[in-house]
Amino acid sequence: MRYIKQIGLVLGLLAGAAGVAQAAGDLVVYSGRSDKLVKPVVEAFTAETGIKVTLHSASSTELLNKLRVEGARTQADLYLSNDAGNLEIGGQLGLFEPLPKATAESVDARWRAPDDTWVGLSARARVLVVNRQAEDVDFVKSIFDLADPRLQGRLAITNSANESFVAGVTVYMEAAGKEKTRAWLQGMKDNVGKSVFAKHGQVVNAVAEGKYAVGLVNHYYIFRYLNQQIKDTDKDKDVDKAHEAGLVKDAIRILVPDQGADGMGVAWNVAGVAVSKHSKHKDLAKKFVSFLVSEKGQKIFAEVNFEYPTRADVPTAPGLVKDIKVADVPMSKLGPERGATIDLIEAVGMP
């Protein structure tokens, strides 16, 4: 008898589980960014409009797969990605609803889809982090100098499966040609041997400790590190003021590569958002997007993670390098060329 009761209980629970409708908010966002970076702006939106937003977080690529397989059955109203490549692929698969012209055009043309299916929310640059004590690094002016044998054993990079790494390689391939990029990858591979890092944060740490002379990272990891240093040394100090006054005398400096008149410019990538084609709340979703690209929304984005706002009229966080020359490769290339980039990376055998 006891078993019958127990099993009955289990079956009852299962049946209940099947029927449970998730208590989701008014809007569902498939989010490929860390909650910590998205939540502040979501909370501001809810406070202003009373519209509740549920974040469904996972990796950007995985969520795009999910969106694609679900098709019309999806519960997602919006898709937020940390990589322009995914947004562009999604746009081409017809998963997104075009945004209103007014919303799209408030964002710099470089940082949105040509067909307005997605807009960028915050931009990041692929830059170099250099140890101040490192000798014989003055020759490093360009990304391509990382292949120089003088950096043998002194170069720190992430593994080549990193989404930012792949997107960067796509840009260099488009801007400088496939052969040059292949040679560059080969040279970097010779320089790093088999030791690469899993995370950008580890690259910055290793360079700061003097284990490596130069590292290739997204710019905000350098600022996260510097901020942590300030916080650790003096808890009461105002971080923003410290940056502005140049108080940060740390072991590392930032080097923006490929600048100057004939420089290629740095590789950019953006995190962005799109409205799902099969959303049942398209108006609300569009309202959310227009909040994200509004001055208020952009300001929050710029503050939480030291990224560049995608609106020209919103100031960057204090301490960030301004007026950077950017490689002339449209974001829309990051999608269709990703396969070719991975092929190239694998052909070289990057770790």
Binding site: Y3, V10, A17, N65, K66, N159, H200, I342
Partner: protein, 523 residues
């Protein structure tokens, strides 16, 4: 006398197996669309490396788990010493720590600023670089630490059940203790060792967490990358098919060897009592066990506590955190209970009617374990959307995926306990007028209660830790602890990953307690 009578039991078992095989059908279907040319390219470019990596990893992990598991099981089963009960607990605790947490913790600890990294530098200076984990040895170390407990558990159980008479006979005939161990004890343990190493190998073949954190190209990682990075479902399915082939070959070989090894002994034989350890032995025992515990339990736990404390201090642990914990336990509870129930017909059918059909049912039900989680999730999504769409996006879909993934664990342990069902006992029940169902409730189920409990616990613990399928299939906004760990760790927010990992360990404790109590009672 091969009779293929299916009967009602077989029909039910068949239905369970059919549902469990949904992802496999998806794999067949998708890989059927691969043309010969692309198969050829896969064979020549990808497969040699993947075979090499996966097999060498499996062998290294088995070696590691064998050494760690058997040595600790023998010491604990055969010697009585201070802290023995505590030792048993600490030996099974690694089961509560997911492989991706292990990988993550050790890559942080071995960082030049981490505890182990800075200790290494203090000891050896800069002359010898700190070893890193991004190679086959590093991944093998992580997986061996995460899985040796399976060997420990099964071998320890077998040792505690084993009979004194055989070893005593050997001693009487003049064998040294070493000879007794190699010639009598170890051969008697062969079924337990084989079964536990099989579980270890299956965990290695299906592991996604450690290999993806450490970027070691095995089948699961490569399948995942094909699928999510390139949207190449067909290539992913093709690779999955090869992986399934590999795993089934292994399972069939293992079963073949196991089926020829049955050891019987009279029920009256006295059990071996552990000998009190001498003082010298005590030192060695704790030195050896202590090192294992340090690496497998104490260091990871200390790391979790340290970062959890940091998170607590910064007030990062909010109310939603308890929500994640409740979600995780709910899903694991439902999955474990459902798996325990649906495994019954499959196991019973095989024990009662040993036939080609029952054997193939068992093999088919094992498929879930070897298919990578993302593939199971995708197969299930495709199936549900096409056939039974109301279920999609609900908790039930997630529970279904977890049951498919972990069904083999349940089937294996229930089947093992059903081996003890002597037909005569059931026949006696029937003779006394019980119908088949009453017989099931009143005779069969009580007899295999232990096996069912073990099945429940094994599935529960694995379901608690499950990541890849949960990431894809969970209802919107339904976050579990593993999902949070993964999200926070991938954004390098360590202070948020640690409390979730710690919570996972705490949630597994009651389940481990049930299992350990069951083991103690069976002695």
């Amino acid at each position: 006398m091969i009779k293929t009578k299916i009967g009602p039991l077989g029909t039910v078992a068949g239905m369970v197996v059919l549902i469990a095989a949904i992802p496999l059908l998806f794999v067949f279907y998708s890989s059927a669309q691969l043309d010969a040319e692309r198969w050829g390219r896969l064979w020549s470019t990808r497969l040699p490396e993947l075979f090499g990596n996966t097999l060498s990893l499996a062998i290294l992990v088995c070696l590691g788990a064998f050494v760690l598991g058997i040595s600790s099981a023998w010491l604990i089963a055969r010697r009585d010493f201070v802290g023995r009960r505590l030792a048993i607990w600490l030996m099974v605790l690694p089961l509560a720590i997911p492989t991706y947490v292990f990988a993550h913790i050790y890559s942080v600890l071995l960082d030049s600023r981490g505890w182990l990294g800075s200790l290494w530098i203090a000891t050896f200076g800069d002359a010898i670089p700190v070893p890193d984990l991004y190679n086959v040895f590093g991944v093998a170390l992580i997986l061996a630490l995460a899985s040796y407990s399976y060997v420990f558990l099964m071998v320890h159980a077998a040792l505690s059940r084993s009979n004194r008479s055989l070893e005593e006979a050997a001693r009487l005939h003049g064998a040294t203790p070493m000879q007794v161990f190699w010639r009598v004890t170890l051969p008697l343990l062969r079924p337990a060792i084989a079964a536990s190493l099989a579980v270890v190998v299956l965990h290695v073949l299906s592991d996604f967490g450690a290999v993806s954190m450490l970027r070691f190209q095995t089948f699961t990682l490569s399948i995942y990358l094909q699928m999510s990075g390139r949207f190449d479902y067909q290539a992913a399915a093709g690779l999955s098919l090869v992986l399934v082939g590999l795993s089934l070959t292994f399972l069939v070989i293992e079963r073949f060897f196991r089926s020829r090894q049955r050891f019987y002994s009279g029920a009256q034989g006295a059990l071996i009592r552990p000998k009190p350890a001498t003082r010298g032995e005590l030192v060695w025992i704790w030195l050896w066990l202590g090192h294992i515990m340090l690496l497998a339990v104490i260091l990871p736990l200390a790391w979790m506590l340290d970062w959890t404390w940091a998170a607590y201090r910064d007030q990062l642990i909010g109310a939603e955190f308890w929500g994640y914990a409740i979600n995780t336990v709910t899903v694991a509870f439902l999955a474990a209970s459902a798996a325990m129930v649906v495994a019954l017909p499959v196991g019973l059918f095989h024990v009662r009617r040993r036939s080609l059909a029952s054997e193939s049912f068992i093999q088919m039900s094992s498929v879930g374990f070897v298919l990578p989680g993302p593939v199971i999730a995708l197969g299930l999504i495709t199936f549900l959307l096409a056939v039974f769409s109301p279920l999609y996006g609900s908790l039930a879909a997630l529970v279904m995926a977890l049951v498919i993934r972990f069904l083999p664990l349940a089937v294996q342990s229930e089947e093992a306990s059903m081996q003890q069902l002597t037909p005569s006992v059931e026949q006696a029940g029937r003779v006394h007028g019980a119908g088949p169902l009453e017989n099931l409730w009143r005779v069969t189920l009580p007899m295999i209660r232990g096996g069912m409990a073990v099945a429940w616990v094994l599935v529960f613990i694995d379901a608690l830790k499950e990541l890849p399928a949960t990431l894809i299939l969970r209802p919107v906004g339904f976050d579990t602890l593993p999902v949070r760990i993964w999200i926070e760790a991938s954004e390098e927010m360590l202070e948020l990953a640690a409390p979730a990992a710690l919570m996972l360990v705490v949630a597994s404790l009651p389940a481990l307690w049930i299992m350990m109590r069951g083991q103690a009672a069976s002695r």
